[in-house]
Subunit: 224 residues, 2 copies
DNA sequence: TAATCCCGTCACAAACGCGTCACACCCTTG
DNA sequence: CAAGGGTGTGACGCGTTTGTGACGGGATTA
């Protein structure tokens, strides 16, 4: 599976869940003194604060390393300030990496996305083709029969979602969800506008109109 | 390439060779006043003592940075004591990192093992071409379709980093990291200015605008 | 020491993305 | 054919992101 499990000792997780569009690829969970609350499969990434409730972050770090269930996790220590002594201690306690806090969403996401792309390179999932359409996740670029499609970020996500679900009617609600839009709630009519814009972009690249309207249901990406 | 080449100004190398089991992953060599005795491929890590035989460690550090064959090395300064003034000087001289000495085997291994996983794969190639762009590491010169691009040092590194990661969205954080700027922390907006300057230089050499902005993500070096 | 170069930051204007609205058009149903 | 709901799309406005000239400090050179 392709999912990366992210554990944090802070509350940043909830905020990230809203922020990350690509929910299927990530899970977030709280890392308490007893370790992760649930056990997961797949690669794990832990961000450990230097100070936690009752427990020093270093101790948490050692416990993660000692526990066979989590010993493979990629551990990033969050230091409050840039003390070289602390950095050294963090590394010695088993951390792979550190950031100078406070932990921000972008700090987490940059790292996670970087990891993801590194993994993607291994699994070669960063590029896939559906019919004449090819999608390059690394370059964030789509092509129709080799011709680049000029897309804005939201349109790119939309097209990607269609490409991953070809020949299947997607309701407006599914599309809104699939693009990870939760707050604020999106008017379903807005999807119509998305579709219109995406169609125009595909046509401009020489593609036909692979997006078929299914009246009172939604839209399908027709693969012939 | 999976091998990390470690250079030391002290004799610790021999001792480490005995200590490290997994010899295939590391090579050790002495770093003398004239730099590394042999040229290597793959990532390099240099531990530079504050005082060397005839040469100040700072000078060694600068030479490593100035020499295109070693400019990518990860340089750790070894300070005898924790003098903040010295730390500042070390970082200014181009060190990525420092330890408060004396250098021990575990200090070396902790760092190397921790960071090895995220060592970017870098070709030690002296000259390579990407599309119309050619980069000559020895002459520190870039050309677009044969036309020289006038670049300042920082811009050269930036372009080089893009050339090594074509068709891949690079976040501002990745770029800052990729240019080896860790201390002091660089404002992400600064990257915008780098990009602007680099674009101007490329355009002046007759190149188009191969650097595409991906809004709210970063920049891509677009090939074809 | 003076002159010059390099580079990080700032501030502000411009460009951009996107959700919504309004209205015309389309299709279905009776 | 009429009625009514479903869909396409141009226009608008807001908030955010990006580009860039200007500035100043540090380093380098003359």
């Amino acid at each position: 599976m392709d999912v990366v499990n992210i554990f944090l000792t802070s509350e940043l997780g909830e905020s990230l869940e809203d922020f990350v569009h690509d929910q299927r690829r990530f899970t977030f969970d709280r890392l308490g003194p007893d370790g992760p609350r649930r056990l997961v499969e797949g690669p794990m990434w832990a961000f450990v604060d230097w100070v936690m409730d009752d427990l020093a972050g270093l101790e948490m770090c050692r416990r993660l390393r000692a526990d066979p269930r989590t010993m493979d996790a990629h551990v990033t220590m969050v230091l409050e300030e840039d003390d070289p002594e602390d950095r050294r201690r963090a590394l010695r306690a088993g951390a792979d990496d550190y950031v100078i806090g406070p932990l921000t969403r972008t700090a987490v996401l940059d790292r996670v996305l970087a990891l993801q792309s590194r993994q993607a390179e291994r699994h070669a999932t960063r590029r896939f083709e559906v019919g004449a359409l090819s999608i390059d996740m690394a370059a964030l670029q789509a092509r129709w029969a080799g011709e680049p499609i000029v897309l804005r970020p939201n349109e790119f996500r939309l097209l990607r979602f269609f490409a991953e679900n070809p020949n299947r009617v997607l309701t407006r609600a599914e599309l809104i969800n699939g693009l990870g839009k939760r707050e604020p709630p999106i008017d379903e009519r807005t999807v119509d506008v998305w579709i219109g814009r995406l169609r125009r972009a595909i046509k401009a690249a020489g593609g036909g109109n692979p997006l078929r309207t299914v009246r009172s249901m939604g839209y399908v990406f027709d693969l012939n």
